[in-house]
Amino acid sequence: MGPGLTWLAVFLVVPCGLVFTYSFFERGLYGGIDYLFTFENYTRAIDPLYLKIFLQSLKIATMTTVLALLLGYPAAYFIARAPRSRQNIYLILAILPFWSNYLIRTYAWIVMLNREGLINRVLEGAGMIDEPLPLLYNEFSIIVGLLYAYLPFMILSLYASIARLGSELGEASTDLGGNALKTFLGVTLPLTLPGIGAGCVFVFVLSIGNFITPELLGGGKYIMIGNLIYDQFLSARDWPFGASLAFILIGIMMALLFMQAMLVNRYSGGSNRA
């Protein structure tokens, strides 16, 4: 156990602690750090200029999460209710994209969505549009990229909780006179809430911290918190400000994980009664 904990202490705890302390210092005149204590980095983050980027990131991450849930739930439900022998094959198909390089998968969307890309070509060929649609380098393309990348996380979390449920409860509800919709809303949905929570937190956290997809599919026009942190460290050389942004990001993440843990606690207590 010793070497592992030592490694994590030296290369995880110390670096993160370092960044945390940097976030309270002033920026040096030529980059670097002036060791003068200040809260300014945090107050600067709520400047309208940066607040806008935070709100934009929240919006993109929220939309990605909602769409992932709407697309992921039917898929997970279908997999969980498929014959046992076929479930594994479906799951492998769902996670297959993970086995290729993230950048290449993102690049594939550039090829698909650009003005002369596959989608525009097909629509034009079919005579449905005269002008190519502006599909790339906007919020839409960022959300498509994130959704494509993180949907498998949603499907896996939902699958785990739907499969555990078994089909008996649904049958019982139907026997007692509930119709399909009532059964779904009254039984299935509440009991799979922990899975929904876990899936949503996964997708949201991964989306909001991402900077590659906004960079490549947003064309650099739509930046998110991750891009801002990247710029502060590698371009502006304002490490203290970048550090404070990183800790705000971690703060958002911790709050979500905490909420998710509460949800699980509440429902593992509630499911005994059900």
Partner: protein, 223 residues
Amino acid sequence: MPTAWGGFTLHWYAALVDNEVILNSVRNTLIVAVVSTALATVIGTLLALGIEQGRRNGFLEAFVFTPMIIPDIVLAIALLSFFTTLKVTLGLHSIILAHVVFNIAFVCAVVRTRLKHFDYSVIEASIDLGASQMGTFWRITLPMIFPGVLAGALLAFTLSVDEFIIAFFTAGAGPSSTTFPMQVYSMIRFGVSPEVNAIATIVLGVSFTLILISQRLGKGVTP
């Protein structure tokens, strides 16, 4: 844009084979992946054994889990700050050190799932029968958890080959420590040429072949 299509050619595949820059980045990626996987597999396995055999400790378990959930960019800037503050020159070695951090977490998680069903009385039996601690580890414990260790190592290797953000921040300037994902990123971002399409096709082909092989192997190990 490389999408305006003007006919078939294999030229871009041939260009790839001659491209020193790309071949060098592939070599760098393999060095990083092999060394960091080897280190992380040993360290992560020991960590998993320590956690599973010790008293249950929620804090410790959450701590070991941290590198898996912390945003990549945060870990990347933290390590960059750390190396810079200590005036460590950046290069392949700093990428390796950084990759071991998250690889440990994944190896540890995979090995722990294997240990959940481990019958510890086997170890007691071995010691009762006069085997030494080390002898028991090498001849009993390790062979029993080996599928888990191997799976953890494969996962660490795959993640390491694909990892971009942390490598990008801890590589430093200069082409000598450019990894393959970094190379792909700069090709997509700056000079888009049909070579990118050729690379993408090869990477997809290799990835899917590997997953097919691991599926086949997996069937042999766990019926």
